[in-house]
Symmetry: C2
Subunit: 242 residues, 2 copies
Amino acid sequence: MAYQLYYWPTIQGRGEFVRLALEEAGAEYLDIGRMPEDQGGGGAMVRAFLDDEANARPSYAPPILKNGDVTIAHTANILMYLGGRIGLAPKDDASRHWAHDLQLTVTDFVLEIHDSHHPISNALYYEDQKKESKKRAGLFLEHRVPKYLAYFVDVIDCNAGGDTYLIGDTLTYPDLSMFQLIAGLRYAFPKAMARIEPDYPELTALHDLVAARPNIKAYLKSDRRIDFNENGIFRRYPELDK
Amino acid sequence: MAYQLYYWPTIQGRGEFVRLALEEAGAEYLDIGRMPEDQGGGGAMVRAFLDDEANARPSYAPPILKNGDVTIAHTANILMYLGGRIGLAPKDDASRHWAHDLQLTVTDFVLEIHDSHHPISNALYYEDQKKESKKRAGLFLEHRVPKYLAYFVDVIDCNAGGDTYLIGDTLTYPDLSMFQLIAGLRYAFPKAMARIEPDYPELTALHDLVAARPNIKAYLKSDRRIDFNENGIFRRYPELDK
């Protein structure tokens, strides 16, 4: 049976980290929010699933993955659940926790990226917190982006399995997320990333390696890949890109 | 062999969610940061462990749990790892993911609580982002606290195992975290919580039930429990408590 992904249809958002794993693995999945309404899809279906009072284990927010009777929420939790099933996670228990550890650091980074344009509240439009965004984004690019990128390079350097992947000598799901982070940061902050990224060539190489994987390459060219836009996590607001 | 917890010695912080689980279970553990320096403890040891280049799997930040050869970071990842080993997690795989799902929502909530006093950057003092904090904390108390608390009540309501715990009919580690959230919110926002909390009596009851567990009761009275203070996640700044 196909995995069912419940996520908003018009943004990459947090769901994209799940989509990339499903696409790389060639797994059969239904992207419910992006399916036509007459096939039971659409954003309203995602909302309905979230609010469904018959759900014994209600999720706080999408993305949500459904696999038969099992419902899993939170990007990192979904990826941990999927990883072993679709061949994108290490095998032993300690290494599975290690992959998850990296993914939770990705989660933290993603929230900081989001909050660079929403430092005060999700209840306000960006335009209503632009002044604070400029302050936050400046410090984010100065302190946080280099700290996170240096950390992931450190992980590659410490990897006993080689100097290419985050874990071992094969691709695992955190590598896919690393691709998405680099791609998204380049989109949101082209000027800053032109300055910052050259200090972290290991991550550029990992980005390129993932982008060249046949399934990912096909996905990125397909209309299943939603374009980056200013409703997602990575937003291009030139005034935040110093 | 005792578990080794690496966390900052002067705050409850994120480490407290791990301490509560270890204490409830009566597990043997060393709180490295809080041990005397002449016994190999102290904050400097936590920093040294974090920066140790011999670590093949470097952590991004404390809390970090060490169990023999295994090193685990991120509060929710640690709790998932510990949960089954110390009898505080459900047994089947889907339920373990469910417990983790709830803990990841706790993680998100904790970060929002923290950012209510640090909306712009960790690189700035609170005093240098007080104006923005007032704005963020106001909207946080208005929109986010009720949304999170209502969600956790929803989880209790949907629990097929009864109307007491988050999962099933016994205590699991997310219940302990719920206690800490309520206790911390009461500390940080006494006025707002006096207004908000009565709408969520299920959570008050869960808080009280956890506080009355013999091991937790003894822990809270002991000097192992650090007092809430203005260096932690939950900070009492009267100007943010409307």
